[in-house]
Symmetry: C2
Subunit: 200 residues, 2 copies
Amino acid sequence: MTDLPLHPLPLLGDPPTERSDAARNRESLLVAARELVHERGAEAVTMDDVALRAGVGKGTVFRRFGSRHGLMVALLDDSEAEWQRQVMSGPPPLGPGAPAWERLEAFGRSRLQTTVGHADLLRAAGASGNRSAPAMSFVVMHVRHLLIQLGVTGDLRLLSTALMAPLEIGVLDVLRTEGIDTERVIQGWLDLAQRIVAGG
Amino acid sequence: MTDLPLHPLPLLGDPPTERSDAARNRESLLVAARELVHERGAEAVTMDDVALRAGVGKGTVFRRFGSRHGLMVALLDDSEAEWQRQVMSGPPPLGPGAPAWERLEAFGRSRLQTTVGHADLLRAAGASGNRSAPAMSFVVMHVRHLLIQLGVTGDLRLLSTALMAPLEIGVLDVLRTEGIDTERVIQGWLDLAQRIVAGG
DNA sequence: GAAGGAAGCGGACTATGGTCCGATTAGTAC
DNA sequence: GTACTAATCGGACCATAGTCCGCTTCCTTC
């Protein structure tokens, strides 16, 4: 066989082999959506806008992302991925190398900043605040990991979820309404984390 | 003056004097909406449906409640009011009379049940999970009150918010997806509460 | 490189949330 | 009871999320 060319090689069931034009369109749509959201805020971007700017039909947008929420989640996942890289392999104290408590502190701060930074996208994305199963899963897993290092025992899955819950956009919106600023939120969160860790 | 009849007496600025037909319509609309939600679930109820069943025009629905969210929130507030009564003056341990820790425990359980019971309404109501400023405010105030009695010090507003955040519908939805049942959630929540109280 | 079939495309179409304004009605003053 | 005003009503109208299906494009196979 002179040709041992690239078989589809769909061994990894992950990206279910997207056709080239489909991949191109997905990329165009993400770029267009990101630009529009950046220009005028998530609230003011319609699906027709996105389709028009990407130069594709409206049907394509929905086939790719399923819904408005889906599109927003896709946008979020991009930034989320970058953030996850910093947590997994960036410089300490957010990345590995610092003592667990310092990492936890940096993690909370960073998470809060990220959430606030993407507030409008998160509101547009989630029927229930934000979530995106994988994104939330990563957060909980990491906190769980740090709590273990800090000697915490118990139902760590729930404790981790509970520790991160106050930093979700829905809760932050309420606090913001009451005039509580970011720094105070962080201080309160650190207090909570300390109590959890102290509980053993 | 033989007539000392009922002046409007708008001394209390609270209910801004609603015209009788307006009041009647509001009532019809709430009843109609409640019935429809009960029959087919919040998701499947359209504003036109509500207007039709209440026998009023669509415009009236929006003038009264502002939006779909507003209508759902109004429905929620009814049940919420009943629940608040039980907390404030019902039998212990949820109502007054029991030791603070038992009241807190009962409060968490009850709140969880209520939230789960109104899950679909809450999802339909809140862009950000649930909230309804007054409802959330009541919850936080009460927890704060109990935490004080339990000798907790610190930024109680934030601690209270953080303690209740894991019981919001958005978080519960995620946990449910992961196959975590209600009882386990409660146990985890009690653990969290204990750690907060133990922290002093 | 031609043919065949499947995946993907796109824009007309539908459903529903939300707005607007002329017609109507409750409440007030005489 | 009548006239007057302002609040309220209601349904036609608009914008946008989401669906559908005939047409096009890509990829494979020979």
